[in-house]
């Protein structure tokens, strides 16, 4: 399904003042497209996800899915959260079955469907484990299986791999791409990791902070799986990091209340030497 944010503004009351989180955001994601929203912390990326999920409403502007305004949550738009947000009282199978149960699927059917998607994320051996017994990466696998089992048209991912170690993250990114190419949902993936965004997305929206605005849209027209040393990919990453360098300065200046300046083109770790490149 096509997802569209048209001139979206969002503000929250905060300590008696109004905090502008999103400022005139326009994002268009075509059906089946994989789009990353990339920006520093506090740029309102998660708020965009919540708006599309129907968990929040825009202060002004329109959020359209398949041409219709979003009116509350729907199982056709599923979120994978950063902290997985599994239900601790249910085992892995129960967590994956949850949405199907809410949809009123009979027991045998939802069990079969849950097992199918657990196989897809390589967790067949852990169906009876409880979330507290799983590692961070395994929890995210469950969260992905839980989302995919509902066969959503739009998969919203809110920094799903941010708290994982670099190796686990790389493995899960590859698996996510494989799964996406099977079912081809529309994916909107939020991250603050430049390499992650450029490795995954068809297009990267670079979002600035306070309030969040779209700074740039970068199209990555490279076949997947993408090679980390591909010069075109590195050129994309350099360009985005350049944009974000200014961004980070602005955020720091606002926080510290004084002039903070990074010497030009001198990022803490050169892109080709860093696995993570968090900003």
């Amino acid at each position: 399904m096509r997802v569209e944010l048209q001139h979206v503004f969002k503000s929250f009351p905060h300590n008696g003042e109004t905090l502008d989180v999103l400022h005139d955001i326009t994002v268009v994601v075509e059906e089946g497209e994989f789009v990353c929203l990339l920006g520093p912390s506090g740029c309102g990326k998660s708020t965009i996800i919540h708006l599309i999920a129907g968990l929040e409403r825009p202060t002004s502007g329109a959020v359209l899915v398949d041409g219709r305004p979003v009116d509350g949550p729907s199982p056709s738009r599923i979120v994978v959260f950063q902290d997985a947000a599994l239900f601790p009282w249910l085992n892995v199978l129960g967590n994956v079955e949850f949405g199907l149960r809410m949809a009123g699927l009979p027991k045998a059917k939802r069990r079969a469907r849950a097992l199918e998607f657990l196989r897809l994320v390589h967790l067949s051996r852990f169906t009876h484990a409880y979330p507290h017994q799983l590692s961070g990466g395994m929890k995210q696998r469950v969260a992905i299986a839980r989302a995919l089992a509902l066969q959503p048209d739009v998969l919203l991912m809110d920094e799903p791999f941010a708290s994982l170690d670099a190796q686990t993250r790389a493995v899960l990114q590859n698996e996510l791409l494989e799964i996406w190419q099977l079912a081809r949902p529309t994916v909107i993936f939020v991250t603050h990791n430049v390499r992650e965004a450029t490795g995954l997305a068809d297009r990267v929206y670079v979002v600035s902070a306070r309030p969040g605005r779209v700074r740039e849209v970068e199209r990555i027209a490279l076949a997947r799986p993408r090679h980390a040393e591909d010069p075109t990919l590195i050129a994309h990453q350099r360009k985005i990091l350049g944009l974000l360098g200014e961004e980070i300065e602005e955020v720091l200046r606002e926080e510290l209340g004084e002039q903070v300046h990074f010497p030009e083109a001198q990022h803490p770790v050169p892109p080709e030497q860093s696995l993570g490149m968090h900003i």
């Binding site: 999920a53 968990l55 947000a85």
Partner: protein, 250 residues
């Protein structure tokens, strides 16, 4: 069966307790020896059918009282947490009831029910239901936001949301309330029996105190303490621990 690292009572603690007791008995004239005097009295008491009647009586009243506590405490807590009108009308009443110690309900219970079994059960109920209500109320209001968001996007609403999300999310709080309620209820039971002269452990305590039978008094107190510790340690502490581990809180 036990959570790892969990020991109900260590033998070191038991040895220490017995040693200190015997030391006190040796130093203070008139203080009976635990092993030589108090425990033999306890053993003969427990073998005595009349004493067993008292013990069963206490157990029965506790069982009935605690069942009511669970029913009314959890039910009332759910109403307080879910129905704003009930909360506005009765929320502060629940807190007020919770603030009154169990023993302070005994006179009113006697006034209403006389020196009866019902008066004791009523004391247990009012002494312990408040904490269950307050904890259940808090638990069902405090669904963690990530859980709430995940549930809502997956289509949980209305009765499904309540039954499959709110209730399980509240369980650690409810269990904590039930554990405290056991301790409050046990105290209230003893106070009730002490003052109503209903055949039970509390009333036995009153009798032996009047006849100045120190050995027997200490024996009954030991028994009261032991029952409290054993039920809490073997049942509630374990239950609470397992719930906390499962819910990712420990």
């Amino acid at each position: 069966m036990f959570p790892p690292g969990y020991t109900f009572l260590t033998w070191q603690a038991l040895v220490m307790f017995v040693a200190l007791w015997e030391l006190a008995a040796w130093l203070a004239p008139g203080w009976p020896s635990l092993l030589g005097e108090v425990l033999p009295v306890l053993r003969s008491d427990v073998a005595d059918p009349a004493f067993r009647q008292a013990l069963y009586g206490s157990a029965r009243r506790m069982a009935v009282g605690y069942s009511l506590v669970m029913l009314i405490g959890v039910g009332g807590g759910i109403l307080l947490g879910r129905v704003p009108l009930v909360d506005q009308l009765l929320g502060s009443v629940a807190v007020a009831i919770h603030a009154i110690p169990g023993a302070a309900w005994v006179p009113l219970s006697i006034l209403w029910f006389g020196m009866t079994e019902q008066a004791v059960i009523f004391t247990v109920l009012l002494g312990a239901a408040g904490i269950v209500m307050v904890e259940t109320d808090t638990g069902i209001r405090e669904v963690p936001p990530p859980i709430r968001r995940a549930a809502r996007t997956m289509g949980a609403r209305g009765i499904n949301y309540f039954w499959f999300v709110v209730v399980p999310a509240a369980i650690p709080r409810v269990v904590n309330g039930l554990r405290l309620a056991w301790a409050f209820g046990w105290r209230a039971l003893m106070a009730g029996e002490l003052l109503t002269s209903i055949n039970g452990l509390g009333q036995r305590l009153n009798q032996v105190a009047k006849s100045q039978d120190l050995d027997r008094l200490l024996a009954i107190m030991l028994l009261i303490s032991a029952i409290g510790i054993v039920v809490d340690g073997l049942l509630f502490k374990r239950l609470e621990h397992e719930v906390r581990v499962r819910w990712g809180l420990a």
